[in-house]
């Protein structure tokens, strides 16, 4: 219990003092995962909409497969991307191994199924009457689709927040693809892992609290944003 309390106190100190190294790690965590969620959202929300608005034979199966990948283990994603970008892999020439870009790639793949699947879920949750109402008011097909997406915005943003949470809190891909290089690819999760192994439990806890704090702030900001619109 003592450690938790000390961790909290130290976390506050580290934040208040704007400890340069901690700030740098937290900032890196934030922008890597923000980049991942942005790329994933730009790709997955339209794909989810595409799947939702079209009827095809294997639709149900495809959705089941996507949902299965919700629980994709982060180390498996790490390993998979590793095989592609390691020096002997097909993308080895790009020299992405142990760069922030590699971590972003891993996180995008990790959260893509959740974002796609939850977008489909969000759109299916919208009353059929929304489409009828939009069409009856003179909307074209694309306008009606856009209205359905707009109606589902709360759930879609919820999926984005969830995806961001999964990205910033994962350690497998960040460790395997980023390599926890100090000042370059070290993020909050890999730092916590390292500090714990070194026995620096209080520092590890402080970093953990900052991580939870970031997730909390993002979630609250998103909700405020949504309340306004």
């Amino acid at each position: 219990m003592e450690e938790i309390w000390q961790g909290l106190v130290q976390a506050v100190q580290l934040i208040v003092n704007l400890d340069p190294e901690v700030m740098e790690i937290a900032w890196r965590s934030l922008y890597i995962s923000a980049a991942a969620i942005l790329i994933a959202a730009l790709f997955c929300v339209p794909v989810g909409a595409l799947i939702h608005f079209h009827d095809f034979k294997a639709k149900r199966t495809l959705i089941n497969v996507i949902q299965t990948f919700y629980s994709l283990p982060t180390v498996v994603v790490g390993l998979f991307v590793f095989l592609f970008i390691s020096r002997s892999g097909p993308l080895g020439g790009l020299e992405l191994m142990f760069t922030p870009t590699a971590v972003v790639i891993g996180q995008v793949i990790l959260i893509a199924p959740i974002l796609t699947g939850m977008t489909i879920g969000a759109l299916s949750g919208i009353d059929r009457a929304v489409k009828d109402t939009a069409l009856s008011l003179g909307a074209s097909s694309p306008q009606a689709m856009w209205k359905i997406i707009a109606e589902a915005r709360f759930a879609v943003v919820g999926a984005v927040v969830l995806g961001f949470g999964r990205a910033i809190s994962e350690v497998g891909a960040a460790m395997m693809l980023g390599g926890n290089i100090r000042g370059y690819t070290r993020v909050l999760t890999t730092a916590i892992s390292l500090e714990t192994q070194k026995g620096e439990l209080v520092l590890a806890l402080a970093l953990g609290m900052i991580l939870v704090g970031i997730a909390l702030v993002v979630s609250v900001l998103m909700n405020i944003l949504l309340q306004r619109y």
């Binding site: 009828d132 009856s136 003179g138």
Partner: protein, 359 residues
């Protein structure tokens, strides 16, 4: 030439026939009410008219042009019409943005949008609601938003699918008077589906009765209410005294009908031996303590089975060998001292009995 016309319109779902052989002719600027019980196919018909569903067969013509061809033109036809559904659907947005939506998707300038929306909000008694979230409104307010949103583009045809079912009386009144106003002042063509016979009577210039997917009678409301074409329509519009009988004898338009052993005199051209359905409006039956007064041809001795109060009126259930209901004011029921189990005479004129060939 009818403004909105359907020709042999048929709709099916899952092999079941929902509508068949619907031939409607609705004139420009009229209020046409489709009356029918729940499940008759009213919503199915309204959705077809708004081109939201594709008919199984048959065609719809708007202003002389066939509009059931499909394709991109669907949107252009829909933009000339508007529909309000039974269950008000408002977008998860402000009231203003809800009403502005149809204008925005038509690419209207934002200044025009603001003016038009403000005008419609005022007309629907929603001024001051512009910034409110539409989802937080009551059912009646939400339906007014839906109506404002439907009317803001000044459509040529307004389709209303039971728009006032389950609403509070204030909202019902407001919606009804708005509908009438838009029809009178702007010549808006209105097609309204309802199961509420009184509403049909209040609003309709012409009405059609829809039963089991078929249009069984079309005409002025007064014609439908006073001379329904068949016994099912009579039942639908709330006539209770319906009896099956047989014409025992007939002479010069005056006939005797045998109803389970009791004979009543009626006016009909049908010949002796025909099976008939007869009905008598409850308000046409006069109750008296003694027989043989007045000019009514039919006087039956009855026993009062029960008395039911509805407002200032009292429905008296009678057993006259067959079961009929009479309607008297509560005041006269009290004056006559009507009681359950009491013997009484029920009189009605031969002309008060409507006779139809048995369905």
């Amino acid at each position: 030439m009818a403004f909105l016309r359907t020709v042999r319109l048929e709709q099916r779902a899952g092999g079941k026939v929902l509508l068949s052989d619907i031939n409607l002719e609705i004139n420009r600027g009229e209020v046409f009410v489709v009356i029918g019980p729940t499940g008759a196919g009213k919503t199915t018909l309204m959705r077809l008219l708004d081109l939201l569903d594709k008919p199984y067969s048959g065609d719809i013509y708007l202003d002389g042009a066939k509009v059931t061809n499909g394709g991109a033109s669907l949107m252009h036809v829909r933009r000339r019409m508007a529909i309000v559904f039974q269950k008000p659907l408002v977008f998860n947005d402000s009231v203003f943005n809800n009403v502005a939506y149809p204008l925005k998707i038509r690419g209207a300038a934002s200044k025009t949008v603001g003016q038009q929306v403000e005008k419609m909000l005022q007309a629907t008694g929603l001024s001051g609601y512009a910034r409110r979230k539409a989802r937080t409104l009551s059912g009646g307010e939400a339906q007014r938003v839906a109506l404002a949103r439907a009317l803001v583009t000044e459509p040529e045809v307004l389709l209303l699918d039971e728009p006032t079912a389950n609403l509070d009386p204030t909202s019902v009144n407001l919606i009804e008077s708005l509908v009438v106003e838009f029809n009178r002042l702007r010549g808006l063509t209105i097609v309204m589906a309802t199961h509420d016979m009184q509403q049909g009577q209040r609003l309709a210039q012409r009405a059609g009765v829809l039963m089991d997917g078929q249009l069984v009678q079309v005409g002025r409301p007064v014609d439908i209410f006073y001379s329904p074409d068949n016994i099912r329509v009579a039942g639908l519009i709330g006539i209770h005294n319906i009896m099956r009988g047989k014409i025992a004898s007939s002479e010069a338009g005056l006939a005797s009908v045998d109803i389970g052993g009791r004979v009543i005199e009626v006016v009909t051209d049908l010949s002796a031996g025909s099976a008939v359905d007869v009905y008598i409006r409850p308000e046409d039956i006069i109750l008296t303590q003694t027989a043989g007064t007045g000019s009514a041809r039919n006087t039956l001795s009855c026993i009062i089975k029960s008395l039911k109060l509805t407002g200032s009126l009292c429905t008296v259930e009678l057993d006259c060998g067959f079961h009929i209901e009479a309607l008297v004011t509560v005041k006269s029921a009290e004056e006559m001292g009507l009681k359950q189990g009491q013997s009484i005479y029920a009189s009605f004129k031969a002309t008060a009995v409507r006779v139809l060939p048995a369905a």
